[in-house]
Symmetry: C2
Subunit: 657 residues, 2 copies
């Protein structure tokens, strides 16, 4: 906060929101989304204040928006960004000297003070208007001076004309104004805030079981995925895979001949992070795949994992980019006594770190130039935060459409910091939040605390690395429950599709992940199985797309439902109101009494309203606060209700008086 | 946050507390109170971190305190200030490179890795120790190099000796360290955080009814007030009172002959803000009064009201310090159409503002030099905040024992900002918070939010300006309830004593204040009425002084009691635990079931504990969570329980095995 003039200011800005509380980080918003700014501002005594919101748009032009006073010394205004990029805003406040004078004068006038007294006060108003006139545009100056003259001449009714106030406010020199620090807004395109992701391994797309699929095979899967309502295809790494210390089935330390290896063991003599595995058809096949996707209106996200197999070209071309042991050998990844000899970590602190960082940034640029604008970044928390700050800032300045998803399932402070320093989307602990209390507490933290200003969760019921016991034990109802929770609690969600839609949930005996894990082998999927969950995907994605309430993060509010195994929540925009009821029990029928806070939902107390179940299509007429809901998980464990404000009555007819 | 070296740091400080969230303001603490600092800190990967707390004490010496890791990437340490003044602290974090190496080495060693592999790793440890040795003191350097030599020679067991780790940590060059911004701590003496104030009008202390009392009369009242347990005597303004437009009884616009006027109409030909009313005995009598007070161990707080009666010497000596109307007359205080012709506000923005501000600061210094260190500042929110920032900073730098109480009953943002800019104590809305929900919500805000870092509430059940209907209608039980609430909810509280202790609560018909208001007339009080509330004052103040739990602000926690007219709360320190039960109903008997959270109170579930009612002296043996409490407001509307952990059993005897 600083005074605009060279002197102290009587005005004090006490708060500005939205902002991130614990540091000078960017808040995140999307194109077209109104940004509602509120400032607290005070002055000694009883003078009126005026506040302006100043928005610096892309290209540097500043927009000035007058702020409206609310209660409790707060002022508000909104702005909207029309393209992605970095915006800033700040607040300015000043004493409305003429307005304060005019308000006091009016009170004197209306209390019928003697004209002699009023005339003395008029001279003060005239002096103010003359001061305001000095730097006003010619037309306004003349009008201001005309008023000043009428005041000097004792025209006691003149200040009651609204024009004088409007003129003065428009030409106020804002003496003693004060200004807040600037707050930075990172504006992303909408897909960063509302998107459904679908993950699959392109090598598992051949129609012949056991044969390595190519990008041409994978391209055949795209239309269906688009029709299911997904926006983004996310592919695990597509690069050549190393053979040295290659891992076999289910992470066996020794691969058998013919085993394909893990896509995260990146690099072979065929190339590294800018090459495409030759069994996938190489770069040309990938480009064809990408064109098909884009023609279908679906985007492709690549997985960028900054680590190398011992066969990566960089190992020989740039040995200085890797950590050495004192005997000169490259240090492989370790968690002593465990060894991960198939992975060489990069040394971000090496003497040549500038060249390394540049090369890594160039990996992104290589793919950006080929049309990839969305990246899922593997384990960003094992690389220096300073690298990501540097890299993401440079890339997004040049390509504001980029979206980066941070794959960090690590401790909370690291995950939140990655979001602060520039990741647009973040994986979360959603997978491990399964009870009513766990889900409620976590969602309060994500949606209803300051976290929501910078951290955009992406909810995944499963990934190739994580298969939770809830899915393993709960079967199809559990899959439906977790899918609906992900897709309705969080505007951004994703699913590791093939095993999920087929409800294949065999857990590895030792690890919380899939058995027969696709990370280490080629699987074959029936992409058109009518008994799969694809119809659920389709209807839920359609509901999401048709209902703006499900496209926002910060509008979540939990409702009271009297059953510890049932969850109820409300999401709404000005014109769209959705109430979701989800049973968390995949086994038994559950019933609970829902309490609707009618006032908040803007629903009548004394007349009925309509609840439309968007999943099942049934309509219900409800009245009052309390409603018993019964859910059978083997039929459908959830209801997604659209709240329709009222039911027509005879009074709605024209001829009813 | 900034890197100590010239390069980027891998360490990230994610949060530091305590601090004020919404600006660069001071947190407030007291002498001798431990300041518990917690920092969030992360690094990429799995390296160990070390954190240091750096405290700059008075005089500029910096103390370094090693921080202890907690869970969730947090580190903690504490410090204590031993005299009042301004301290700062910051955090530094760095990677424990040797510690990380040693931890990984130990795991390899304990997994029985081949000696050949261990020896390669040992060379890395040796290199680190040699680097650490470079700038270590001679003795440490030799020891570090001796270890390095043993490592180089292949002594695989050497790194397991704890001494190497201790030596390395002590001499760590902290490469790549990062440092937080400094946070400022305003350390006050204890009386700023724990004090009982007693307000009275010295002119109402004569033993002869209707006669203007002097400071010599007033001095006779001091010993009793000290004996009742009060720490601070607060006097309304003691200066000469103007006669022009003097107000009569109950603010009548015209004073009758002989009426004494309001002490807030400051200044007469006898003097202004640095003079004492001659009917009070002048400055000499005041000095005698002050000596008596100090000899009794009680402090005196003066009321500083920066406004002038038309008769104040400044009006003629410094007309430039007052606002003029265009006709040249001095502008009196107004709220059009109301006029307050007995008060001239000072013009803090006048051309000579520097001289005026200096003169106002000198008013404080005049009284400081006479031994006054506590000031109640009248209506600070009608003077520029910039003035208070300037004035209080200069005064407290010179006199760190000063305590300023802000008399602002205005809007929340102004009150909180006055605390941020330097007022040590603040009046509150306590008077208007009378229901369970009102009290609970407000106290949560004051004690359990970030507000408590800078805003120190002073709770007043009444003032000469405010007599709430609750007191008027509820009589003696209401007075007892409000007094106990003030004194146990807030460590700093005060009472406008004489009418309160006599339960005189006649409200003025038009205003929320006392009828026959002492502001405008001399009253006469029976200071030794045995039926007054003085015995309550005495016992509550004694309880406060004996129980450290009641001397802290941020340790308040409300407990559940099943009665909307009863309030239960818990305050505790490590060794002292107090549970208060207060009925808010001054009329009827109330009964409610109290739920004690036994785990938090560190009480046994399966065995009894003792509750000692400090007000009544009764002891109770309780067991379990739920206890029914019955309170008769006409006997005593509250219980102040000390929780005594356990009741002895036969197992406590020595001979019980």
């Amino acid at each position: 906060m600083k005074s605009i003039s060279d002197r102290w200011s009587r005005v004090f800005i006490t708060s500005v929101s939205p902002r991130v509380y614990d540091g000078d980080w960017h808040i995140k918003r999307t194109v077209g989304e109104p940004i509602h700014v509120t400032a607290g501002m005070i002055v000694d005594g009883h003078d009126l204040l005026r506040a302006g919101l100043y928005v610096t748009h892309l290209g540097g032009a500043t927009e000035e928006i007058s702020m409206t006073p609310l209660h409790n010394d707060e002022y508000t205004a909104s702005f909207t960004a029309d393209s992605p990029g970095i915006y800033t805003y700040h607040i300015r406040g000043w004493i409305d000297r003429y307005g304060s004078w005019q308000e006091q004068y009016t009170r004197r006038y209306e209390a019928n003070m003697p004209a002699s007294e009023l005339k003395v006060e008029l001279l003060e108003g005239a002096a103010l208007l003359k001061e305001y006139a000095v730097n006003a545009p010619v037309a306004a100056r003349e009008k201001l001076l005309a008023y000043a003259k009428r005041y000097s001449n004792g025209d006691t009714a003149a200040p009651l004309e609204e024009e004088s106030l409007l003129l003065a406010r428009k030409n106020d020199p804002q003496k003693g104004a004060i200004q807040s620090d600037a707050i930075t807004v990172e504006v992303d395109r909408k897909l960063a805030a509302f998107a459904a992701w679908y993950e699959f391994f392109p090598r598992s797309t051949s129609t012949v079981a056991g044969i390595h699929g190519t990008f041409d095979d994978a391209a055949l899967r795209l239309e269906r995925i688009r029709d299911l309502g997904f926006d983004i295809i996310y592919l695990p790494p597509i690069h050549p895979i190393g053979t040295t210390f290659r891992k076999g089935k289910d992470n066996d330390p020794t691969a058998k001949p013919g085993e394909p290896g893990s896509p995260w063991a990146i690099g072979s003599p065929d190339g590294g992070h800018t090459s495409v595995h030759k069994d996938l058809g190489g770069l040309r096949a990938f480009e064809r795949f990408l064109k098909t996707a884009n023609d279908l209106g679906i985007e492709v996200a690549l997985d960028i994992a900054f680590q190398c197999s011992p066969d990566h070209p960089w190992v020989t071309q740039h040995p200085e980019w890797f950590k050495k042991r004192p005997d000169g050998s490259i240090r492989y990844a370790e968690n002593p006594p465990k060894k991960y000899q198939d992975v060489y970590p990069l040394d971000f602190e090496c003497a040549d770190w500038r060249e390394l960082w540049e090369a890594l940034k160039n990996v992104f640029e290589f793919w950006i130039k080929r049309g990839i604008y969305i990246f899922r970044v593997d384990n960003p928390h094992t690389k220096p935060l300073a690298f990501w700050m540097w890299c993401l800032k440079r890339l997004r300045t040049k390509y504001p459409d980029l979206i980066f998803l941070a794959e960090a399932f690590t401790r909370p402070k690291s995950m939140y910091t990655l979001a602060k320093i520039g990741f647009n989307n973040s994986y979360t602990y959603f997978t491990w939040r399964n009870t009513k209390k766990e889900i409620t507490d976590y969602l309060q933290e994500l949606c209803c605390s300051n976290t929501a200003e910078y951290f955009r969760p992406s909810f995944w019921p499963n990934t190739p690395d994580i298969l939770h016991e809830y899915l393993t034990s709960g079967g199809r109802p559990a899959h439906i429950i977790r899918y609906i929770l992900a897709a309705t609690l969080s505007p951004v969600y994703g699913v590791y599709g093939p095993p999920f839609e087929h409800v294949i949930a065999n857990q590895h005996p030792d690890r919380e992940e899939y058995a027969d894990n696709e990370k280490y082998e080629i699987r074959s999927w029936n992409w058109n199985d009518p008994s799969s969950l694809q119809s659920l995907f389709k209807s839920v994605n359609l509901i999401r797309n048709q209902h703006p309430a499900l496209q926002e993060l910060r509008n979540l509010q939990f409702l009271k439902i009297e059953n510890p195994l049932m969850l109820a929540y409300w999401k709404h925009t000005d014109s769209n109101s959705i109430v979701c009821i989800v049973s968390l029990d995949p086994f038994q029928v559950q019933e609970g009494e829902l309490e609707l806070p009618l006032e908040q939902l803007n629903l009548p107390n004394a007349s009925p309203f309509q609840m439309l179940d968007l999943l099942g299509g049934e309509r219900y007429i409800w009245q009052g606060r309390f409603h018993s809901i019964r859910v059978d998980p083997h039929v459908m464990p959830a209801r997604i209700f659209q709240v329709l404000k009222r039911v027509r009555t005879e009074a709605d007819f024209d001829y009813f008086v």
